[in-house]
C-alpha cells in the first residue's frame, strides 16, 4: 500500500502524482505486511521562465551599478515572486552578500576576516553549494570566480565561460603542473562577461595581476603587487607569490624569485612547481 501525505492511493496514482510534482514536500509511506517505510521527498524544480526573470532582475542590479544592502534587497524583492527559482535566488543573494561583506559594505557584522565560515567565504560557500547545480550564466560565472578564489583552477576553467578567468586559471594550472604556459600579457583579451560585473574588487585586482606578462617586462606592476602581498589572504597571496616568482625569474632577479618561491615551499598545491622552479633557478 502506498500512502501519500496521509492518503492511501494506488501505486500507479502515486507514480503519476510524484512525477507531476515540481515543488514542496511530499510524505510517502510504503506498507507491505508488517513492514512500513516512510520517505520524505522535497521537490524544487525551477521553471525556466522564472530563472530567466531572476537573471533579468540580476541584470538590473548590475546595470544599476550600486552594490548595497538596499540594492540587494531590491533585487530580492523583484525576484521573490518567481517562487520556483527561490533556491537560485537564494544562491545569488548569498554570493552578493558575500561580496558586500568583502567590500566592507555590510551592515551585519559579516566581515571579510572571519575564517570560520561566518565571513564572506561562508557566504561564497553557501552560494556555490546551491548555484553549482544550475546551468545559468550567472551561476557559472560565480562558481568560476569562487573556484578561482580558492585556487581550484581546473574547476574554474571548466565552470566559467569567462575567457579571462579561464585563461588566467589555465596559466596557473599549467604552472602548477609544470606544463607549457603563455608568458605574455593576458590582459588584451578582455571579453565582456558576467564575471567582470560579479567579482569583488579583490578578485578583480588579483585577476589583473595574474594576467600580467611573466616575461620580466611588467616591473612597475609587479612592484605594486609585491608591496601588497602581505595584506592579501592566503589564497590570493599564493597566486601572487607565484606570479611574482615567475616574473622575477624571467627578469633575472634570482634573489627575489627565490624569496617568493620560498613562501610557497610548503604548499602541497605548489609542490611540483617548486621542485621545477628550483631546477630552473639553478640553471640560470
Amino acid at each position: 500500500m502506498v500512502v501519500i501525505n496521509g492518503t492511501a492511493t494506488s501505486i500507479a496514482n502515486a507514480v503519476e502524482y510524484l512525477a507531476a510534482q515540481r515543488g514542496g514536500v511530499v510524505d510517502v509511506t510504503l506498507t507491505k505486511g508488517d513492514a512500513v517505510q516512510s520517505f520524505q521527498f522535497e521537490f524544487a524544480l525551477a521553471d525556466v521562465d522564472h530563472l530567466e526573470s531572476v537573471d533579468d532582475a540580476l541584470k538590473r542590479l548590475i546595470d544599476g551599478g550600486e552594490l548595497s544592502l538596499r540594492a540587494i534587497d531590491d533585487f530580492i524583492m523583484r525576484s521573490k515572486g518567481y517562487i520556483s527559482a527561490g533556491r537560485y535566488l537564494y544562491g545569488l543573494a548569498n554570493y552578493l552578500y558575500g561580496v558586500l561583506a568583502r567590500e566592507g559594505l555590510s551592515e551585519s557584522g559579516v566581515r571579510d576576516d572571519l575564517q570560520d565560515g561566518g565571513g564572506y567565504q561562508g557566504k561564497y560557500d553557501q552560494a556555490v553549494g546551491i548555484l553549482g547545480t544550475f546551468d545559468r550564466p550567472p551561476a557559472e560565472a560565480i562558481c568560476g570566480i569562487v573556484a578561482f578564489h580558492y585556487n581550484h583552477f581546473e574547476r574554474a576553467m571548466t565552470k566559467t565561460k569567462s575567457q579571462r578567468v579561464a585563461e588566467v586559471s589555465l596559466r596557473f594550472q599549467s604552472l602548477l603542473k609544470r606544463e607549457t604556459y603563455f608568458f605574455g600579457d593576458l590582459a588584451p583579451s578582455p571579453h565582456a562577461s558576467l564575471d567582470v560585473a560579479l567579482s569583488d574588487s579583490v578578485i578583480e585586482q588579483v585577476l589583473g595581476w595574474s594576467a600580467l606578462p611573466l616575461d620580466g617586462t611588467a616591473g612597475a606592476e609587479i612592484a605594486e603587487l609585491s608591496a601588497s602581498i602581505d595584506q592579501q589572504r592566503p589564497y590570493d597571496a599564493f597566486k601572487l607569490h607565484l606570479v611574482a616568482a615567475e616574473h622575477a625569474l624571467a627578469e633575472g632577479d634570482i634573489g627575489t624569485a627565490r624569496q617568493h618561491a620560498e613562501r610557497l615551499r610548503y604548499s602541497r598545491l605548489a609542490e611540483g612547481w617548486y621542485a621545477g622552479f628550483r631546477t630552473r633557478v639553478q640553471g640560470v
Binding site: 530580492i76 527561490g86 548569498n94 551592515e107 553557501q126
Partner: protein, 588 residues
C-alpha cells in the same frame, strides 16, 4: 463566537473567523484602532482621534493622553492630566472602545456579543500585568478564554491561513521557525520548532527599545537637526507643539512611503515659530537607512542573542516569519535577508494583522496551550523531580492547574532548604539526564539546622493559573517558614492546525545528573526518605553507626564515606584533606 484580540502597543485589532476565512474588524478608515486614550473632562476619546492629538512619542502618559496603556499595567495608580486613574480602567477604556466600534462594524453579525476572546500578549509581559489585563477585559465585558504570546499567534495564523496548510506544515516539520514580531512599540521574538502534532516554543525574547515609534522620533529629530544645521536655525527657535506633532506624523508617513520610493520631501510651512522658517527637507532612502541603522542593528542584535542563547546558527532556522507593522521596512527586511537568506524570510502581505488573525484561528479551532518543556525540581545527588510534565494543558479561563509535593531536607546544616526549579534547555521528546537545564528560579525556606537529615518535612505547592504564570510555594514543617515565587517566562506549545495528535510528550524521568562545572547550588531536598541522599558528613553527625562498615542496607555508601572523610583531618598530622604537606599515608 470567540474572537482573536490583539491588544497591541500602538494598535489594537479584533479578528474573527467567518466560514473558512479570517476577517479583520478595522475602523472606519480601514485601519486598526490606535491604542491611545485621551481624557477631556467627562469625555473619553479613544483611538485615532486621540492619537492625532498626541505630540510626544513613546509609551506612557503625556498630559491628559495615554499612549499604549498596556505598559502601565502592573502599576496601582497613574496620574493622567492631574487625575489619578487606575491603569486597568484606562486599558478597559481602550478595550471597550474597540469592542463597541467592532460591534458597530459590518462584521457585527459574525462577532455576536464579542464577549469572549483569545488575547495576545507580548512574551515579556509579567504575571501581575497579565492579571491586570485580564481584569481590564473583564471590566469591558470580555472574558479572556486564553492568553497567547503574540509571535506564537502569528505563526499559528501563518500556518492556518496558508493556501495549503498541510503542505506548509510538511515543509517545516521538525524544523526551527523564528517569528519576528516587530511592531510599533515592541519587538517580540519566539523561536519555535514544528513537531508532529504541535508547535513548540524553544525560547522567547524581545525588547521595547526598538519599536516603530522610536523610529519615527529618530527620523523627525534627525531631519530637524540636519535642516537646522544647514540653514543656521537658532537653538532657541523652537517649533510649536502642534508643529512638532504634525512633523512626527509626517516622519511616520515618510518612513512608510520610502519603502517604495527613492526619496520624499518633508515640508512644513513656518515650522520654526520664532523665525517663521519653513522646513523643507528631501529625505532619501539612503538617509533613512543611515538614520535608523542603530535601531535596526539593536533589533538584529536581539535576534542574534536569542539564537545564541540556544546555540543555534541562522542557517538552522528554516523560516523567519516577520510580522508587525515594521515588517515592511526595507532596511529591516534586508538585514533579515542577509542573516537568514531570502528564501527563508517571509514577510506576508498580512504581516500587520497576522497576530490578531492567528488569535482568531486559535479561538476558532479551540486550540489550547500546553507546556512545551518539563518543569523540574533539582533534588539531592543530581536527581530531578518532574513538577509539571511537557504537554500539560494550560488552564483556561478561571482554571488553575496545581499539585503538591511532599519532600524532605537531606542536609539542614546551613539552615536552608533550596528548591531549584529548572527546565530542559532544548526540546526533546525524552530529555536525558545529561541534557543541559536552564534555571527558572530558586526558592529557599529556613529549616531547623539542628535537626537530623530527612526529619524536617517540606511541602512544595506548584500551580499554573490561567494567566500562564507558574507559582511555587515552599514551606518547612519545623521552622514553619514559607517562601513563594512566580515565573512568567515559560515556553508553550499549541496543536498544529488540523492535527489531532495532541498526546502528551513522552518524557522519561531523569536519572542522576552531575553538574559539569560552574557555580551551582547543591540541592538539599528529596522526595523520599532515603539516607543515601544525605551528604556523608551530615549523615556521620547524626548516624555514626552507618559508617561502622557492617553489612546491611543502612550502611553509608562509598560516596558518603568519601564525603565524610573529606571533612576529617589526617589522623596523624591533623592536616586537612588534600593538603600536599600531609605525607602520612605514603610514609606509612
Amino acid at each position: 463566537m470567540t474572537v482573536g484580540f490583539d491588544f497591541g502597543t500602538t494598535n489594537s485589532l479584533v479578528s474573527v473567523v467567518a466560514g473558512d476565512r479570517v476577517v479583520d474588524v478595522l475602523d472606519a478608515e480601514g485601519l486598526p484602532h490606535a491604542s491611545v486614550v485621551r481624557y477631556e473632562g467627562e469625555d473619553v476619546i479613544v483611538g485615532r482621534e486621540a492619537r492625532h492629538a498626541l505630540e510626544e512619542v513613546g509609551l506612557g502618559v503625556y498630559g491628559n493622553t495615554v499612549r499604549s496603556p498596556k505598559f502601565l499595567l502592573g502599576q496601582e495608580i497613574v496620574s493622567v492630566g492631574g487625575v489619578e486613574r487606575s491603569p486597568i480602567d484606562i486599558v478597559a477604556d481602550v478595550i471597550r472602545h474597540v469592542r463597541a466600534e467592532s460591534r458597530r462594524s459590518g462584521h457585527r453579525k459574525v462577532l455576536g456579543e464579542l464577549d469572549r476572546a483569545v488575547v495576545t500578549i507580548p512574551v515579556n509581559m509579567n504575571g501581575p500585568r497579565r492579571a491586570a489585563l485580564r481584569e481590564a477585559f473583564a471590566r469591558s465585558e470580555i472574558s479572556v478564554t486564553q492568553f497567547v504570546h503574540e509571535p506564537l499567534a502569528a505563526l499559528y495564523g501563518h500556518l492556518r491561513g496558508a493556501k495549503d496548510p498541510q503542505a506548509e506544515i510538511r515543509r517545516l516539520m521538525k524544523r526551527n521557525v523564528l517569528v519576528v514580531d516587530w511592531g510599533g512599540g515592541t519587538l517580540d521574538l519566539t523561536l519555535c520548532r514544528i513537531e508532529p502534532g504541535r508547535i513548540l516554543q524553544l525560547r522567547n525574547g524581545g525588547t521595547d527599545q526598538v519599536g516603530g515609534d522610536k523610529f519615527d522620533r529618530v527620523i523627525r529629530d534627525e531631519v530637524v537637526a540636519r535642516f537646522s544645521n544647514k540653514h543656521g536655525i537658532s537653538g532657541s527657535d523652537h517649533p510649536t507643539r502642534d508643529a512638532r506633532l504634525s512633523l512626527l506624523q509626517e516622519a511616520e508617513s515618510s518612513k512608510i512611503e520610502l519603502s517604495d520610493r527613492p526619496s520624499v520631501t518633508i515640508y512644513h510651512a513656518s515650522y520654526f515659530a520664532e523665525s517663521g522658517t519653513t522646513l523643507e527637507y528631501s529625505l532619501s532612502r539612503q538617509e533613512l537607512d543611515g538614520i535608523t541603522r542603530p535601531l535596526v542593528a539593536a533589533g538584529i542584535r536581539e535576534i542574534e542573542a536569542l539564537l545564541e542563547s540556544v546555540d543555534m546558527a541562522p542557517a538552522q532556522v528554516s523560516l523567519c516569519l516577520v510580522a508587525g507593522g515594521m515588517a515592511a521596512m526595507p532596511s529591516i527586511r534586508g538585514r533579515l535577508h542577509e542573516m537568514f537568506g531570502p528564501e527563508r524570510v517571509l514577510v506576508p502581505e498580512n504581516s500587520a494583522t497576522l497576530v490578531s488573525q492567528g488569535a482568531a484561528w486559535i479561538a476558532h479551532d479551540a486550540q489550547r496551550l500546553v507546556l512545551a518543556k518539563q518543569i523540574e525540581l533539582e533534588m539531592a545527588r543530581g536527581l530531578r523531580l518532574p513538577l509539571l510534565r511537557a504537554g500539560t494543558a494550560m488552564p483556561s479561563n478561571g482554571e488553575i492547574c496545581r499539585d503538591r509535593f511532599h519532600l524532605y531536607c537531606t542536609d539542614p546544616t546551613d539552615g536552608v532548604a533550596k528548591f531549584a526549579i529548572v527546565a530542559p534547555s532544548d526540546l526533546a521528546e525524552q530529555p536525558q539526564a545529561s541534557d543541559p537545564r536552564t534555571s527558572i528560579g530558586m526558592v529557599a525556606v529556613a529549616v531547623d539546622k539542628t535537626a537530623p537529615p530527612l526529619v524536617e518535612r517540606l511541602e512544595l505547592d506548584v500551580e499554573v493559573d490561567d494567566n500562564l504564570i507558574l507559582s511555587v510555594s515552599a514551606t518547612s514543617s519545623r521552622r514553619a517558614d514559607r517562601a513563594s515565587a512566580s515565573y512568567f517566562d515559560l515556553e508553550f506549545g499549541i496543536g498544529l492546525p488540523g492535527s489531532s495528535d495532541l498526546r502528551d510528550l513522552d518524557v522519561t524521568e531523569a536519572d542522576a545528573w552531575v553538574p559539569n562545572g560552574g557555580l551551582v547550588v547543591r540541592a538539599n531536598v528529596a522526595d523520599r526518605e532515603d539516607s543515601r541522599l544525605v551528604p556523608g558528613d551530615v549523615l556521620y553527625q547524626h548516624k555514626r553507626w552507618a559508617f561502622s562498615r557492617l553489612p546491611g542496607p543502612d550502611q553509608a555508601t562509598d560516596e558518603q564515606i568519601r564525603e565524610h572523610l573529606y571533612y576529617q583531618p589526617c589522623a596523624v598530622c591533623k592536616r586537612q584533606w588534600g593538603d600536599p604537606a600531609c605525607r602520612c599515608a605514603s610514609e606509612a
